[in-house]
């Protein structure tokens, strides 16, 4: 693999994800092993997909929580999906915040759930911002590899 400045930047960025606890090192490394020549865009697509879906899930959660009455089934489903998808790609902080939200919600405290949701949104926004850059770099780095 080429060791261009771009790749170096990628490595650094990836490492910072790990260091900040945004991504789980083990899970991401594992996912990378699944990528191969036949599907070089695997990780990139995965991240892109997650960003898209997680944004939707969070939007849905917000709407469900703001609705009167609160839409429980949607909440449950969205939180569950977010939990599963964030765990699958190693988005640790988002996964953690989702779990917190779930717990608070199950406890029945809607106000706290809303607060928790805000935290989740912040984490998500932060993660998204960085991941978008990372994915962009990944795309850029691709052609030079092959």
């Amino acid at each position: 693999m080429a060791n261009t400045p771009l790749h170096q930047q990628l490595s650094i960025m990836k490492q910072s994800f790990f260091d900040e606890g945004l991504l789980d090192h083990e899970q991401v490394s594992y996912l990378e092993t699944l990528e191969n020549e036949d599907d070089p865009d695997f990780i990139e697509n995965l991240f892109t997909m997650f960003l898209r879906d997680s944004s939707r899930y969070i939007d849905s959660i917000e709407k469900a929580l703001e609705a009167t009455p609160v839409d429980y089934s949607v909440m449950e489903r969205m939180m569950y999906r977010l939990k599963g998808s964030s765990a699958s790609i190693g988005a640790s902080k988002i996964n953690g915040e989702t779990n917190t939200l779930r717990k608070v919600f199950h406890d029945g405290d809607i106000e706290s759930a809303k607060a928790s949701l805000q935290k989740l949104k912040e984490e998500h926004a932060n993660f998204k911002e960085k991941l978008v850059i990372y994915v962009g770099m990944l795309k850029e780095a691709k052609p030079s590899e092959y």
């Binding site: 699944l34 599907d39 879906d53 089934s73 949607v74 449950e76 699958s88």
Partner: protein, 680 residues
């Protein structure tokens, strides 16, 4: 053959049905998960294991795929939470119908959930994030299952079996018209038998003649069990009652075992469900008197057997009695009905016929109608649907206000979450909320649908029409006596967006309607024709199949507008040109007027086709044509080879839709959440 548009590397000609020499290479896996990210990762890992993977994001789609190609998969992996159906229910259905090993997955690792998976019959339970190691050995479940099945068959008494077969063969030979045919049959049978024997001896192969428990077969089974009484139902007697050539006692025995498990689980679930359903039912309970056995089914027995909540049973009975109730409310039953309905189409037809007679000529409240039709099937379906009903019912009930929903027929629409509570609803004071119920149960419907062998509900939940219709069936059906179970309950409860809003509809509408099997069109024509003929004054019509399209996908906005205007007319205006009092009850969005149907139809989306079918009978009842692709009131006319239509319809839809990928739920403005982006 199915057009698995989105099927990746799938289905190898599943028809081959066997395992390659390089087993487990090529193991055909169907993976079901509503989260795209997880689905992609799983697919990737399974491919690395050299398995053949088919992805699916809806339980209903999965069931369709499985039903359409019964021998096309070796194992199923599904998440426990699906929008259109509870994962455990899917698990049970697959076990009952296709007898495939199912692995459950979950993002939760609570002991309770894992236990639930085990008790529901999952052969394994994986926690996300899943690693490839967990998937590498899933083939063992396939082998194990086949071995067990073979053992069952052998134990059952091969001698007896062989004897029976032989007898059958010779008998058949006697009846063959031509010598050639006869000899061919004989030799074929002999060959089959030999192969069977060979298979028994060869334990290494996975090939094994597996009895496919089709909807009809299962219904016969259930009928036999009910007749005998669940406690007294022994395989031998069931077999005798069923009188299906080629079926062995072992087949029945193992199926019975699963069925019992299923019932037990259902009872646990139904009790748990309570909620709205119960509240509704309880009031009715008092009103209803003796049980009426419908179509030879002993409700009591069924109820006892399946442990249907008393209230549900009461409701069902009441339904049977129908008309007598002053305030028919179709709470849970409706939902169940739906399931019942779809599940037992044949029965339904049966029952309906009877019901219809009863109800014919009466202005029956939709409510009344519903129960009636449901009965036979309901019971059957209740078992199955009970589980999913749980939350759904609650939801539905909540929305019960949509009397229009009764018009179940409209139920189809519901999927989109439309609960037509249009102005017309005011007309139907009688139909209380119940409508909401049927609709919601997409999940149920899905399951039921599957059961009917209609399968193909290509469109995710959207396809619930079938199931939904069951509930709706009752309603309008009675009046029109044609209500085929298919009436789909519209009015998906908002709470259950997933159910109805299969994003698909809106998107697919235009393309689908036209193309496929022309189902769509015909129905409309029929619809108009019917309208002319029917002069019933369906209360239903007024009842307003008003659907509240709000939930509907955004794309249908235009339809909605049309609908609203139509509705404004009071439901009679069915946009259709039908001059007669066809009250099409502008349900929701009467999108298609018979005359104009064509255009609209196309726009409508898949759902329409179904609706069309039903529309025929339903038309009368519900003119509401939900603009969305959702099915219009699908009062499926029994007479129309319901199942045939359905399958055709489904097939169509399936083709339209990408294989296995249904639209994302339409909740909260998710639009066409498709998996198209998944890289190949």
């Amino acid at each position: 053959m199915l057009n698995l548009g989105y099927c990746k590397g799938s289905m190898s000609t599943a028809s081959s049905g066997g395992v390659s020499d390089q087993f487990p290479v090529g193991l055909r896996v169907l993976v079901v998960d509503d989260d795209p990210t997880c689905l992609v990762i799983l697919e990737k890992m399974l491919r690395i294991c050299l398995y053949e993977v088919t992805k699916c994001n809806r339980a209903e789609i999965a069931l369709s795929l499985l039903r359409e190609n019964r021998n096309g998969y070796d194992i199923v992996i599904s998440d426990v939470h699906m929008p259109d159906m509870d994962g455990f229910k899917l698990l049970e259905l697959i076990g009952l119908e296709m007898d495939l090993p199912v692995i459950m997955m979950s993002a939760d690792d609570g002991k309770n959930v894992v236990m639930k998976g085990v008790t529901h019959g999952a052969c394994d339970y994986l926690i996300k994030p899943i690693r490839i190691e967990a998937l590498k050995n899933i083939w063992q479940h396939v082998v194990r299952k086949k071995k067990n099945e073979r053992k069952d068959m052998e134990q059952s008494g091969s001698v007896e079996e062989g004897g029976d077969r032989q007898q059958k063969q010779s008998e058949d030979a006697d009846y063959s018209s031509s010598a050639n045919e006869g000899s061919w049959k004989n030799s074929k049978r002999r060959k089959d038998e030999e192969e069977e024997v060979d298979e028994r001896d060869d334990t290494s192969t996975l090939k094994k003649p597996r009895v496919v428990w089709s909807v009809e077969l299962h219904q016969q089974f259930v009928a036999a069990v009910n007749q005998l009484g669940i406690d007294k139902a022994v395989p031998k007697k069931i077999l005798e009652l069923m009188n299906v050539p080629g079926l062995t006692r072992e087949n029945v025995a193992s199926h019975l075992q699963k069925y019992r498990l299923y019932l037990r689980r259902l009872s646990g679930v139904s009790q748990h469900q309570s909620g709205m359903g119960n509240s509704f039912i309880s009031t009715q309970e008092a009103t209803y008197g003796s049980l009426s056995s419908l179509n030879g089914l002993d409700l009591q027995t069924l109820a006892a057997a399946s442990q249907i909540p008393a209230q549900s049973l009461a409701t069902l009975q009441a339904a049977g009695l129908g008309r007598s109730t002053a305030k028919p409310r179709m709470p849970m039953p409706i939902v169940d009905q739906r399931n019942l309905f779809s599940f037992e189409n044949p029965k339904l037809r049966f029952g309906e016929g009877q019901q219809q007679h009863l109800n014919n000529g009466k202005q029956i409240n939709l409510l009344h109608g519903i129960p009636t039709t449901m009965e036979p099937k309901q019971l059957a379906n209740m078992h199955h649907s009970a589980q999913s009903l749980g939350s759904m019912n609650m939801q539905l009930n909540a929305h019960g206000d949509q009397s229009g929903s009764l018009l179940m027929q409209m139920s189809q629409q519901q999927s989109r979450g439309q609960i037509l509570n249009e102005a017309t609803s005011s007309q139907v004071p009688r139909l209380p909320s119940s409508i909401g119920q049927p609709i919601v149960n997409n999940a149920l419907a899905s399951g039921v649908l599957a059961r009917n062998g209609l399968a193909e509900s290509g469109r995710g939940t959207g396809f619930n029409p079938v199931s939904q219709s069951s509930s709706t069936m009752n309603f309008p059906l009675n009046t029109t006596a044609e209500l085929t179970a298919t009436s789909f309950a519209l009015g998906s409860a908002p709470g259950v967006p997933s159910l109805t809003s299969k994003g698909m509809f809106p998107e697919e509408i235009s393309s689908e309607i036209k193309g496929p099997g022309g189902f769509i069109m015909p129905s409309y024509d029929i619809f108009s024709d019917l309208q002319h003929h029917r002069s019933h004054d369906w209360e239903l019509q007024n009842a307003g199949m008003t659907f509240n399209g709000s939930q509907q996908s955004n794309s249908l906005q235009s339809n909605v507008d049309v609908a609203s205007s139509v509705l404004a007319h009071q439901g009679f205006s069915s946009s259709q040109s039908n001059g007669q009092g066809r009250n099409i009850s502008a349900v929701g969005k009467p999108m298609f007027s018979a005359g104009d149907a064509t255009d609209h139809v196309n726009a409508q989306s898949l759902g329409q086709p179904l609706n069309n079918f039903f529309a025929e009978n339903l038309v009368r009842v519900k003119t509401e044509r939900v603009p969305d692709a959702s099915l219009q009131t699908t009062l499926f006319n029994e007479q129309f080879g319901q199942e045939d239509l359905m399958s055709a319809l489904l097939k169509q839809q399936q083709q339209q839709q990408q294989a296995g990928i249904g639209p994302a739920e339409n909740e909260f403005d998710f639009d066409g959440y498709s998996l198209d982006n998944i890289p190949v």
